[in-house]
Amino acid sequence: MENITQAIQGVPLNHYILLCTIIFSIGVIGVLIRRNAIVIFMSVELMLNAVNLLLTAFSVQHNDPSGQVFVFFIMALAAAEVAVGLAIIVMIFRNTNSTDVNILNKLKW
């Protein structure tokens, strides 16, 4: 256990930035190539969590607790967004019997 703590404390900031970049890009790719609305929501969630990780890393870097408080707010916002979004998905599924976003393509115009 002591070993793990030591190892975590030795991780440089650049590695956190790289990890967050990769997670965020996976989220972006997921939003771009999937058509299932639930998977798109999961990808958005992935992007929000990449930003959360980056905020905590920079909070430690600058020795400022405001970053970690911001993570709380982002989590609250994500919870609200997911609750409303999933309710909309349930409603769409009830009406059209699928969660394909292409059914809603008339919303484009």
Binding site: L13, N36, N63, P65, V82, V90, M91, T99
Partner: protein, 107 residues
């Protein structure tokens, strides 16, 4: 976080999706999406390489992330956003209940 995961699981169970009910994009669109995502990764990593600050991330004050410290900041400096976010959560809850409720037949 756990609440969000449970919400996803509940909706997945509720919808009982089968293989036919979800379409998939054409391969061209998928390839374009992956290329665009790779371009994003390359751009962000390239811009991160400029940063030379690569020293290990050490905790300067040990009680930075403790609940006591965070609570003090949350309830003094961020008191107004905290209260506003409570209203946001309440309105999201009411909205979700209204949206997901079945239509009541008016007699």
């Amino acid at each position: 976080m756990g609440a969000i995961m449970v919400l996803f699981l509940f909706v997945l169970m509720l919808l009982n999706l089968n293989e036919g009910s979800m379409g998939s994009k054409s391969n061209l669109i998928k390839m374009i999406g992956v290329i665009a995502g790779m371009c994003l990764i390359i751009t962000l990593v390239g811009s991160a390489r400029v940063l030379t600050a690569s020293e290990p991330l050490v905790l300067q004050t040990q009680e930075l992330g403790l609940v006591k410290n965070l609570g003090k900041v949350l309830f003094s400096k961020f008191l107004l956003p905290f209260e506003v976010s409570s209203i946001l959560l309440l309105s999201a809850m009411v909205g979700a209940v209204l949206l997901a409720k079945k239509e009541i037949k008016r007699a």
